[in-house]
């Protein structure tokens, strides 16, 4: 089940909103498609980012994938636990596997993202 409080970007990142702070991660679909995640290249705290911009990379045993930010703002925290335990992104993508917290530049941007229901439909439409 996809948590109902999340919003999703088409590149399979999610956002959880807490006032003007957005926690960002990658979706369960994304972690499953990547397979065992072995290393993450995370953004630096303090950098300002624009929606859709590359903020990091996920390396799995199979491939490399870009992390795009679903919102604009300033990176205020990153999940340093992932340095030693990247596999948490596989086991708990919507919880302990969060990637970064971004202080939003424009909270209205979040309205542009898919709801959980829309994302589920989006995933279904990607299957053939």
């Amino acid at each position: 089940m996809i948590p109902a409080d999340l919003r999703f970007h088409k590149e399979h990142e999610w956002v959880r909103l807490d006032g003007k702070r957005a926690t960002v991660g990658i979706s369960d679909f994304a972690q499953d498609a990547l397979g065992d995640i072995v290393f993450l290249d995370l953004p630096k705290v303090g950098v300002s980012v624009k929606v859709g911009q590359q903020i990091g990379e996920v390396e799995s045993t199979k491939t490399t994938s870009t992390i795009y930010t679903p919102v604009s703002g300033t990176v205020s925290q990153i999940n340093t636990d992932l340095k030693d335990h990247p596999e948490v992104v596989n086991s708990d993508p919507y919880g302990k596997g969060w990637i970064a917290i971004i202080d939003l530049a424009d909270p209205a941007e979040v309205d542009q993202l898919m709801t959980a229901v829309q994302y589920e439909a989006f995933l279904a439409s990607q299957k053939h």
Binding site: G35, D36, V38, E57, T61, K62, T63, T64, E87
Partner: protein, 367 residues
Amino acid sequence: MQQTPLIAQHRAAGAKLVDFAGWEMPIQYSGVVDEYHTVRSKAGLFDVSHMGRLVVTGSGAESFLQRMTTNDLAALRPMQAQYSMVCNEQGGIKDDIFVYRLARAGEFLVCVNASNREKIVSWLTDHSRVVPDCQVSDRSPEIAQIALQGQAARAIVAAVGLPQLEQLKLRESTMVRVSNVECLVARTGYTGEFGYEFYVYGPAGPVWDKLLDTGKSFGLKPAGLGARDLLRLEMGYLLYGNDIDERTTPIEAGAEWAVRFEKGDFIGKPALLTQKQVGVSRRFVGFELLEKAVPRHGFTILSSSSPQSPIGEVTSGNLSPLLQKGIGLGYVSPKYADPGMDFFIDIRGKAVPAKVVKAAFYKRPAK
């Protein structure tokens, strides 16, 4: 997509199936890293039936294969195997293979890569036409291939009721029956671990089930192609299509040990001899990254001098679960190829420092 006789077993085990060289194959079951550790510490069971299996027979078979491959078949006793290569006239590698001299005189089993099967079948068949008494037959559909790899393999085969396999030395093979199915079992593999490969001359399902059921109490799990690739990378084993192809030669690829110039004529010999005399323009190396990052096939290798200039290309790479470092294989100009030398890997625009190390990256602990 083609399927191996074990497709039902893979589905039942919940494998993630992918298209590999036109075959629907398990890339993973429990997870690549978990399967990797299982093979390194206990044992894993791999379906490698997608590979090609040819039988070459006749009184002309031995001299024919001597001409078609680079290693020396004269060194093989009956039921012994060797790694070898099939080259074109330019010395380019058409395939890297395993050749088994079977028990009956004039019979050889040749195991080829899945992606090269059709090419090698036609190459050998075409060349065999002018050879008296030499038949090449593609037996891939009727022989399955299962690899049991890992230190627990010895105890597992004993528990299956095959204690005679414990005596087999590396690259030796013998005929046994498992679940009443005839199998050629060899002490070979592609993981760097102690292990066996079963060539199954009959229904493969009962053989797979028997090994897996018996092996469970020893920690045996099915393992997929993802783990297999990590395991072979840590050993520095070549992967056709990634590390070698028809544009690379065994000399460049560091596989000169599998080329026996003294054995007589073989296809590619003049070109390879010339290259050996003149010298190669690139050499195959293993390297590890000095910062945490993951090198991948196709990345450019840069000199450490300034300005940094391209000196080679990565052909395989991943994060080693054992070393927790990015490791890779690739070709560089010979002057950068000695162990300890520094260069950089261009990882999407970032130059990450690396140094040449001896592949294998992993050495099996002595018992």
